[in-house]
């Protein structure tokens, strides 16, 4: 089976200007959204308490709400269905620092009359811990981008590194923007998904860059636009196929993985698609925008080669003792 014609060279550069402008403004809009509206932080980052219950029958949410209101601790509690009509999640901002006292017991007592249920999960995150987790998460995101940038700069060229980081920021920004729009809560799992995306969406970019590098070595063509078009077209099938396989597994996670892991799989699902798109339409064309020149690159490579040969020559002369 084959999906793509291998002989056709698609003109990506022609449409890239349109895509770059559209999605970069989308990314900028996401960043504005991030600062104006902000993410909805889950209790992992904001601190708070979550109690998850499973009833033997359909959960009587209104009755639960009334009964919980009797205790001040639950004021402002958010009570929602969780995954199925039998399950409810109770979420509120206050936390108890007392080790020997338990919210689960309190809920059990207060909701005694609402029917038979099982307290499946109690999560309490103190405000101090929440703040620390947020800081650590940001740190990990920044460091992994930095790490990738350094790696790409070493393996390729600095222009490649900068273009790849812009692509990554673009991916993360749009994914985050979508999270805000779809009201997905920022939890530790979602953060893990975003970090995984940073590591993953660079993969397709690297496949394309690798091909551009290879193409640059062999071709006599000095037109970068043309080189990029050839490289992106030739790698198109593998870019899409590799994304497809990951998309399959993330989709199964989303469908079968259960409510708890929804945030993670949703973020991955979005990110994988955005990452694939940006590798094709953003990462390579951005080299052109950053002023990458084939001629200079070739000269640099040639110079490097020359230096290498020179060195070898010098060494052999030293070894022979002719200097």
């Amino acid at each position: 089976m084959e999906f793509f014609s291998q002989h056709k060279i698609y003109d990506f550069m022609k449409v890239s200007r349109f895509f770059i402008i559209t999605t970069l403004s989308l990314a900028i809009f996401s960043i504005i959204l991030f600062f104006a509206k902000g993410l909805e932080y889950g209790i992992d980052f904001s601190g708070g308490t979550i109690v998850q219950l499973k009833y033997e029958q359909k959960a009587p949410i209104d009755k639960i709400r009334d009964d919980l209101a009797k205790d001040k601790m639950f004021s402002g509690a958010l009570i929602t269905e969780f995954g199925s009509p039998e399950e409810v999640q109770i979420r509120f901002a206050s936390t108890s620092g007392n080790v020997s006292e338990d919210v689960g017991d309190k809920v059990r007592l207060l909701l005694n009359e609402t029917g038979k249920f099982d307290v499946r999960k109690v999560d309490i995150v103190g405000p101090k811990v929440g703040g620390e987790l947020r800081q650590k998460g940001l740190m990990a995101a920044v460091l992994s981008m930095l790490g990738i940038m350094i790696y790409v700069a070493i393996r390729f060229e600095w222009t490649f590194a900068v273009a790849s980081i812009i692509t990554l920021i673009h991916d993360v920004a749009i994914t985050t923007g979508a999270l805000i729009l779809f009201h997905v809560e920022m939890s530790l799992d979602v953060l893990a998904a975003i970090l995984t995306l940073i590591g993953y969406s660079i993969n397709d970019t690297i496949i394309i860059y690798d091909r551009i590098r290879e193409e640059l070595k062999s071709t006599k063509d000095m037109d970068l636009m043309h080189v990029i078009n050839i490289s992106v077209s030739k790698t198109l099938s593998r870019t899409i196929l590799t994304v497809l396989t990951v998309f399959f597994v993330v989709l199964t996670l989303y469908v079968f993985g259960g409510e708890i892991i929804h945030g993670f799989s949703f973020t991955m699902l979005l990110g994988v698609i955005i990452g694939c798109y940006s590798s094709i339409f953003i990462s390579a064309p951005f080299l052109k925008l950053l002023g990458f020149s084939v001629e200079e690159y070739k000269n640099r490579i040639a110079l490097k080669e020359k230096n290498k040969i020179e060195k070898v020559k010098m060494r052999s002369q030293y070894e022979k003792g002719t200097v």
Partner: protein, 504 residues
């Protein structure tokens, strides 16, 4: 090697399930280390007082204000004796104005006490949980002032409650003298007034409305306790018998000899359990705590006393408790995702690449087995995000094969013979595969360093998964092709081997 995990056999290394999959209790506790300094100063006060009494040195105006201790010496001749005694206490900062002493601890000592309080708290909590009989409790230090407690064995709400109470119990036993002169004013005096007399007001274990007025500086501190056991009183009530060490026994003997007819309060965690009248000198250094315990309570208090007092109180910073039924649901859901993800990906590879897809699928299966085996060998814990990591590995591992196969197809299209195309395909694909896997590993490593709890599990399974995939998807599949090379060369069937259209 992954068999023990898959078959859940008795023998062999198995992957431990994380708390989120098997249910249990995860807590991050904060240790209030500054409290340890206060109680250290208090115990210094006790020993100075005892030293002064046994040496007939008269001290006046003995005060304890949080971390500062002050007193005045009446007789100048005793100055040398006191000074020498103070020198034996490490880390003490002494300022003297004529005979008025002000004592506090220096910063270095305070740091030491804080560090000790933390490690002692870890030890104590671990001891208590071990004696409580839970399976595999994990108690570990985190940072400068935090303790991580993980209890996978907890199944019921009642067990959880007892474990939490056991952890939180300070188990600070004090024997204190009742201030006989002011006993009748215990219910009316304010705490501030009491402290002016060097007294403290504590409530009774039976209820807050019964109050006792006691001398602030205790006679004996819980640190002198060597053993505590549950026993039954004459009335068949559970009581706790405790034994003191030799120093404690001596102080206790001396005190009871000098105070016959007075009352002695037995105080546990700032609650008075009993205040019997001293009838005679009590030698041997043993005593009893009674006061309406249930058998379970007495059992837990004895454990707490035996494993030592917490020098500093603990507070709950983070708690995650997962019921076993939720854990089972999560296992079920993630297994379904794993299997359906595998079926989907391998079916796709098979249809798209035919025999090359079969080769990739064999590598994928080997990859999964190796991943499980390595995790079991290293004793890694499998969490729900860890399961997600394994599912993700399935998708990423075949990426390498996709890249290789596309390269090979490309070369075949140029008319290269199959054997040669395979060799060159591997060569050409290598750099892209390496680069993309290394960047993935970089982020996974950072996720491991900065992530907490279950997220670390995700990082571990992706790191191992990707590393193994380089072995299986590159070397493994290459080996398979080389093994079948004579046949491949003979067949020349591009459609069968690489799923290419016949038109090429």
């Amino acid at each position: 090697m992954s068999m023990p995990t898959l078959l859940q056999s008795e023998k062999g290394a198995k992957i431990a399930l994380g708390l989120d999959l098997q249910g249990g209790l995860h807590m991050l506790l904060g240790v209030k280390t500054e409290e340890a300094i206060k109680s250290k100063v208090k115990s210094i006060a006790s020993s100075i007082k005892f030293f002064a009494q046994s040496g007939d040195i008269i001290i006046d105006d003995f005060r304890l204000d949080e971390e500062v201790l002050t007193f005045t010496l009446l007789d100048k001749d005793e100055e040398k004796k006191i000074d020498e005694m103070l020198k034996t206490i490490s880390g003490l900062e002494v300022t003297k104005e004529t005979l008025h002493y002000t004592l506090s601890l220096n910063d270095k000592e305070k740091e030491l006490i804080k560090a000790y309080a933390l490690s002692q708290a870890v030890e104590t909590i671990r001891n208590r949980l071990d004696q409580f009989g839970l399976s595999e409790p994990n108690v570990a230090k985190q940072g400068n002032d935090k303790i991580l407690v993980e209890l996978p064995g907890i199944k019921t709400a009642e067990d959880e409650q007892r474990a939490r109470e056991l952890i939180a119990k300070a188990a600070h036993l004090q024997l204190m003298a009742v201030d006989e002169k002011k006993r009748d004013r215990a219910n009316t005096m304010s705490p501030i007034e009491a402290s002016q007399y060097g007294d403290v007001i504590l409530s009774d274990a039976r209820g807050d409305n019964i109050r006792h007025i006691l001398k602030e500086i205790p006679i004996i501190d819980g640190s002198m306790l060597t053993d505590a056991k549950v026993a039954f009183s004459d009335m068949h009530q559970p009581v706790i018998n405790f034994t003191l060490n030799s120093e404690g026994a001596k102080i206790f003997g001396d005190f009871t000899a000098n105070n016959v007819g007075n009352r002695l309060a037995i105080v546990l965690d700032n609650k008075v359990y009993s205040d019997p009248v001293i009838r005679e000198r009590i030698g041997g250094g043993s005593g009893q705590i009674s006061g309406g315990f249930s058998v379970k309570e007495a059992h837990d208090v004895a454990i707490a006393l035996r494993s030592g007092a917490l020098l500093a109180p603990v507070v709950l910073l983070e708690k995650r408790s997962i019921g076993p039924s939720l854990g089972a649901d999560s296992i079920h859901a993630s297994l379904t995702a794993l299997i359906s993800g595998f079926v989907l990906v391998s079916a796709f590879m098979l249809f798209y690449y035919r025999l090359a897809g079969v080769v990739a699928n064999i590598a994928l299966i080997v990859n999964l087995f190796l991943l499980i085996a390595i995790m079991a060998l290293f004793g890694a814990t499998l969490t729900l995000p860890g399961m997600a990591g394994i599912v993700l590995t399935i998708g990423m591992a075949v990426d390498a094969n996709v890249i290789i196969n596309e390269r090979i197809r490309e070369l075949l299209r140029q008319g290269m013979p199959m054997a040669q195309a395979i060799e060159h395909g591997y060569e050409n694909a290598m750099s892209a595969i390496l680069d993309s896997n290394i960047t993935s590993i970089i982020t996974a490593l950072l996720l491991y360093v900065y992530g907490t709890g279950p997220i670390k599990g995700f990082a571990i399974s992706t790191i191992i998964g990707i590393s193994v995939s380089m072995l299986t998807a590159i070397l493994g599949t290459h080996g398979i092709y080389q093994f079948f090379m004579p046949r491949i060369e003979k067949s020349k069937n591009l459609s069968l081997w690489f799923g290419m259209k016949r038109s090429h």
